[in-house]
Amino acid sequence: MNTLSSGGSLLFRPRPVFQRRRDQVFIWATRIAVFFSAFLLLWIALEIGIQSLPAIGRFGLSFFWNTTWDPVEGIYGAWPQIYGTLVTSLIALIVGVPFSFGISIFLSEDFLPKSLRLALIIVVELLAAIPSVVFGIWGLFVFIPFFRPVQMFLYENFNWLPIFSTPPVGPGMLTAGVVLGIMIIPIITAIAREVLVAVPPELRAAAYAMGATRWEAIFGVVLPAAIGGMLGAVVLGLGRALGETMAVAMLIGNARGIRVSLLAPASNIPALLANEFAEASDEQISALMYVALILLAITLLANIIAELMVRRVKFALTASRE
């Protein structure tokens, strides 16, 4: 008995040195990884910032609203590309999110036998593996002809709306946006479905036990519980839509100047960068770097806003003890 009263030495064996070492190594390895990725981001941003300094000095903030991009005259303004980036991404979300949410809800419920469901999940995820350039080629040769009647319909019936005011030529912001929308379906679907599946089954059961139908359970309980994570999925999709380059460069038409009509050829930041970098000279490179910096800022901003949004929703959903 006096082993018990003689202090802690017999009750608490010290942790083996080896175990402590292992933990230390692990902690440092993760720390280094975190610092490294933060450093990488900073480094890239800094490098782009430095390179764009001449352009920033010359055009200043007017770069944001100037609509002329003329390497011959040396006049640079990026508003058409910024506008094109925002519009194509918005179209991509409008097209992609309802499909993604629909598919993820469908695949997270037991509407289909398990094996079929699994097959469909894999198919949707494989969509993410299709290279961007293949989407571009598919867009040019399959989607544009297929989409033409829809564009004609919009032009013929809604040309009083500025956004449908020009006859469709094929490439344009609408075409690029819709293909982008298809491209972001897999990532949004995969994450949204995982979030939905992770909703505790007790919540679903509780909803049913209150006399809810399947749809009432989904819309009244499961979706509200999952919405934070699903918004996070949307943001990842948005991030991809904002930066997606190859397919968009092939489908947007690469026209200069601002176009209000979604049916007319236009441009956006990634397409501009992809098209001009190879043959750019000094000042043009600096202007392109400035544009790249803006794209980086937009993407970061979108992610930060989304992160805050997701947090707020999560906070509202989970315990909020005083």
Binding site: D110, P200, E202, L203, R204, A205, A206, A207, Y208, A209, M210, G211, A212, T213, E216, G220, V221, P224, A225, A316, L317, T318, A319, S320, R321, E322
Partner: protein, 275 residues
């Protein structure tokens, strides 16, 4: 062998107007090919508390879920036999399970409030069931019934998850009361609660037992003895092929089950736990 419906003419005045609320007729439940509960026939008296007791795994929860078709949600589960509620077999193909669940409420073993405000936790059921009356009034009334009102009346907008376990369980009870069911099923409602919360819930149960038909699963013999009017004892049995299944051994007034059970198994179980 069907157990006698308790309350034959000899018993107390309370039994004089016993009516049957729910009746199972030869109910067996399978999970896939595994027989979990075999051939249960019993009659649940209206506006009384019936307790289900028995060792773990004997199928109490399984049988309880038959009364509001919650087994429908378990893939591979199959129910044989009939469950009669107001003269109608709730497993008939023309019966809407959502309607059954509205009229036969279930309180789960583990508190599972929705990740919504306290108010919306209660309001969810009435809303999906098209409640026409004053929702604020209903929320207050059910929270009062569940002895939770005083603790939460100033923070109805706060998440239901911010409550303590015992408060959450009372919230879940209030939520079930709010759909105004005729029957309340409770699966070990006090299993995760401290003794004080348990006592409060038991008081609530006794109070509710006068106006509702309640079936409660419990592992706590004292609790069954304290709150219930009738008790069904279940046990596991092993068939010739060595497979385990649950069956009902005995169903009677609670004092009979605890003081003079008809079967030796019952007596062993009941006294063992009291020991």
């Amino acid at each position: 062998m069907r157990p006698p419906f308790p309350g034959t003419p000899d018993s107390s005045e309370k039994s004089a107007n016993l009516t049957v609320e729910l009746e199972t007729q030869g109910v067996s439940v399978y999970y896939g090919s595994h027989l979990a509960v075999k051939q249960v026939s019993l009659k649940i008296p209206k506006n009384h508390i019936t307790a289900f007791i028995g060792p773990s795994g004997c199928g109490k929860s399984t049988l309880l879920r038959c009364f509001n078709r919650m087994n429908d949600l378990i893939p591979g589960a199959r129910v044989e036999g009939s469950v009669i509620f107001h003269g109608k077999n709730i497993y008939d193909p023309d019966v809407d399970p959502a309607e059954v669940r509205r009229r036969v409420g279930l309180v789960f073993q583990k508190p599972n409030p929705f990740p919504k405000s306290i108010y919306d936790n209660i309001a969810f059921g009435p809303r999906v069931n098209g409640y026409q009356g004053d929702l604020d009034e209903l929320v207050e009334r059910t929270l009062r019934q569940a002895v939770l009102w005083d603790e939460v009346k100033d923070k109805l907008k706060m998440s239901g998850l911010s409550l303590s376990g015992g408060q959450q369980q009372r919230l879940c009870i209030a939520r079930t009361l709010a759909i105004q069911p005729e029957v309340i099923l409770m699966d070990e409602p006090c299993a995760s609660l401290d003794p004080i919360s348990t006592l409060r819930i038991e008081e609530l149960l006794k109070e509710l037992g006068r106006r509702y038909t309640i079936i409660i699963v419990t592992h706590n013999m004292q609790q069954a003895a304290r709150v219930s009017d009738f008790t069904a004892f279940f046990n596991t049995e092993i068939d010739d092929e060595g497979l385990r299944y649950g069956r009902m051994v005995e169903f009677n007034r609670t004092e009979k089950i605890f003081n003079s059970p008809a079967h030796r198994e019952t007596e062993e179980y009941v006294s063992g736990r009291f020991g």
